[in-house]
């Protein structure tokens, strides 16, 4: 029925290969167009393939086998097409196509224009492999390829040393996460004997006992934390802003970073069997609060959004951790829309301001860039959780799940609320600093609205940010029914029943949002001095936030520098000095021993004579004694 679904991956992959070889000849706009078409084609195929799930109830989808990769360990190139995969594919290809379109404008004039689209298409293909993979090996394949593409795209402008370093940092930190994921895979294989999903998820209750399930869950959490930038492995995401903005939008907002959430959702049965879920939720909550606090004081427009992404991902982790898989996926979708919009908006601002990223040098851009301003305003309201926008519905559902969970859930719910307030604050602060107040640009910079090819995606995303919320309101849970078949094996957590409770929780969360937004609006719509005084009020805290609690230096001091010193000691002292020294030492010892024995050969006959006689005597004496003589 859907055996053509492999086309979803094939289109972007073909696009990547085509552009790789013919890119230079295709030239500026054409390469971009082909890239966008490939993404759009994938979206269409995904949409068509997803129709059956909407039409007939309870369709579980099925696994399409392409060819055998490593049959010995149950790892073949196969696609599992079920509602969860469909939703993810639609998000990835949908947002992906819009970002491709945006990039055509944004990357105008870059001499590696075609190469950029090769990498973007390759990224889409790898993300789809990850999402559609039919076994953990395929997921791992997509997992690493996505890491590769983010490496290539972050250090796209490789002539900038900081970009190259950021790319390497991203890949290495991801790799640390992959280490956890890989060991988790090994544990899975040892228990189930195969990596294929259909050989695992049904048999989880009978094979896995509590502790192994928790172990696998925690190891998957390490992998997810690496990829979705949770504590402690989030340090690479802010640096990843070195890459072009569409890259940040696509990879570091909408798709790649959600891979961790998808992994937890996909292996829901494993998390349900053990109690790793709680840990996931707690990590999510801490990350949310932590990143939000840092975002307050950031002055670089993209860094604010980067920390905001880390924070929002924290929310999703809370949801999937506590069993609210559908809530998590829902927030993932809405977040993809408005965060992509925010990033693309900031991209259009940067484009207009000729590569200027410092918000202190912006201000009053609303009339210069009205479309960008309005669309970003909508996105800001959405993320702040103001009803009826999408952010409100999805975030509220997560808070509801946390509240319903009770016990620890309540603590998470409170943290969630505080984070919601802070989120509203820093997003509104950003909006006001960029778009209102007196202009603070240097001379020679005249901001202008971006061309249509860049504003159209903004508008589409704005519409989605508004409309997406209605997909899963407590009144009509359409997304819930859609995703139901994927989560039959596990009990899905829901926010508290009844409109009364919903209204109460909603009121609290909206109140927090509005409070935050009002506070920021109140401060940052006024002249600059007020800001300074307001920021001074926090004293040292503000600097701490600005410097992201100096976590990078902490990692540098505790891991990177000692690591390098250790390897230098090992390489130059231990290896070159120690082992090699020993080997050369043996050589020298033999030579010096030889030199010493050489002295014995005096050349004097009579010396030899003495030796000769001594030997003779010894023999004679021995004969006498041993021969029973004396």
């Amino acid at each position: 029925m859907t055996d053509f679904v492999w086309l979803v991956i094939a289109f972007p992959l073909a696009g990547a290969v085509l552009l790789h070889f013919l890119g230079r000849r295709l030239g500026e706009p054409l390469a971009g167009i082909i890239g966008t078409l490939a993404a759009a084609a994938a979206f269409v195929v995904a949409f068509v393939a997803a129709l059956p799930f909407i039409v007939e109830e309870g369709n579980h989808g099925e696994t399409v086998m392409l060819w055998e990769w490593m049959p010995a360990i149950g790892a073949n190139l196969e696609i599992t097409w079920d509602p969860l995969a469909a939703v993810m594919a639609l998000i990835v290809t949908g947002v992906g196509s819009l970002i491709h379109l945006f990039s055509v404008g944004y990357m105008h004039g870059d001499e590696r224009f075609a190469r950029f689209f090769t990498y973007l298409n390759l990224f889409l293909a790898s993300m789809l492999t990850l999402v559609l993979g039919g076994n953990f090996a395929m997921v791992f394949l997509g997992w690493e390829l996505v890491g590769l593409c983010s490496y290539l795209l972050i250090s796209f402008w490789y002539t900038k040393p900081s970009a190259a370093a950021a790319g390497k940092k991203a890949f290495v930190v991801n790799r640390i996460g992959d280490f956890g994921f890989m060991v988790g895979l090994m544990l899975v294989f040892t228990n189930f004997g195969t990596l294929a999903f259909d050989g695992i998820f049904e048999r989880v209750p009978e094979i896995l006992d509590g502790s192994t399930a928790t172990a696998i869950g925690l190891l998957f959490l390490v992998g997810a934390a690496g990829k979705s930038a949770q504590i402690p492995l989030y340090v690479w995401l802010p640096d990843a802003m070195e890459g072009p903005t569409p890259v940040s939008a696509l990879i570091h907002a909408a798709t790649m970073v959600t891979a961790g959430v998808y992994l937890v959702a996909r292996s829901a049965t494993i998390f349900a069997a053990g109690d790793a879920g709680i840990v996931v939720a707690v990590v999510g909550a801490l990350t949310a609060l932590w990143a939000a606090s840092i975002a307050i004081a950031q002055s670089d427009i993209k860094r604010v959004l980067a920390y905001s992404t880390v924070s929002q991902l924290g929310y999703m982790f809370i949801a999937v951790g506590l069993g609210g898989y559908i809530a998590g996926i829902f927030h993932l979708m809405t977040h993809a829309f408005f965060k992509a919009l925010l990033f693309l908006g900031s991209g259009s601002v940067i484009h207009g301001m000729h590569e200027e990223q410092d918000m202190n040098k912006m201000g009053g851009l609303l009339e210069k860039m009205p479309v960008t301003g309005v669309t970003m305003g909508i996105a800001t309201l959405a993320i702040a959780g103001i009803p009826p926008l999408a952010g409100f519905w999805s975030k509220d559902e997560i808070l509801g799940v946390a509240f319903e969970y009770g016990g620890v859930g309540i603590v998470l719910w409170v943290i969630g609320l505080v984070t919601a307030l802070i989120t509203a604050f820093y997003m509104t602060r950003q909006w006001f600093m960029v778009f209102t107040g007196e202009p603070r640009w240097e001379e020679g910079v005249d901001p202008h609205e971006s061309p249509r090819s860049m504003t159209v995606p903004l508008i589409v995303l704005a519409v989605l940010s508004v409309g997406a919320g209605f997909l899963n309101t407590p009144f009509r849970l359409t997304l819930e029914h859609f995703l139901e078949p994927s989560f039959e094996l596990v009990k899905v957590a829901h926010p508290p029943e009844g409109l009364g409770m919903f209204a109460l929780l909603a009121a609290i969360s909206v109140g927090a949002g509005i409070a935050g937004a009002a506070m920021a609006g109140f401060v940052y719509s006024r002249p600059r001095e007020i800001w300074e005084r307001f920021q001074g009020g926090f004293g040292g805290l503000w600097e701490a936030w600005q410097a992201a609690y100096r976590v990078d230096d902490l990692y540098g001091a505790t891991i990177v520098t000692p690591g390098r010193k250790l390897s230098e000691r090992m390489a130059f002292d231990f290896d070159a000095g120690g082992i090699d020294g020993f080997v050369n030492g043996v050589g020298r010892a033999v030579r010096s021993a030889g030199a010493r024995t050489r002295v014995l050969q005096t050349g004097l006959v009579r010396n030899y004579g003495v030796g000769f006689v001594a030997g003779l005597l010894a023999v004679v004496i021995w004969l006498v004694i041993a021969g029973g003589g004396v």
Binding site: R598, Q601, T602, G603, L604, V605
Partner: protein, 102 residues
């Protein structure tokens, strides 16, 4: 009366042999060393003869005969070498001939 047995001759030969042996080690002059070698050979001859007599056959004396011949040949060649070296080095001291040093 003490009867002179073969053992006596053997011990005398042993003494002579060791004197010859030590002589080689002590003296530097090649000729003296040569004489010491002759001394050792004669000591051996004595043992042959004494043993022959003790065992009652003449094999010992035949052996002595051959030892004599060998000694003669050896002296001839040895002295020729010494003469050749002497012509080269103006001294018959063995210690100078140490070029084969290690």
């Amino acid at each position: 009366m003490i009867e002179v047995t073969a053992g006596w001759y053997l011990s005398l030969a042993a003494v002579l042999f060791s004197i010859g042996l030590l002589g080689i080690l002590v003296r530097r002059n090649a000729l003296i060393m040569f004489m010491c070698v002759e001394l050792m050979l004669n000591a051996v001859n004595l043992t042959f003869v004494a043993a022959g007599r003790a065992l009652g056959n003449l094999e010992g004396q035949v052996a002595v005969f051959f030892v004599l011949v060998v000694a003669a040949a050896e002296v001839v060649v040895g002295l020729a070498i010494i003469v050749a070296i002497f012509r080269r080095r103006e001294s018959a001291s063995v210690d100078e001939l140490a070029t084969l040093r290690g």
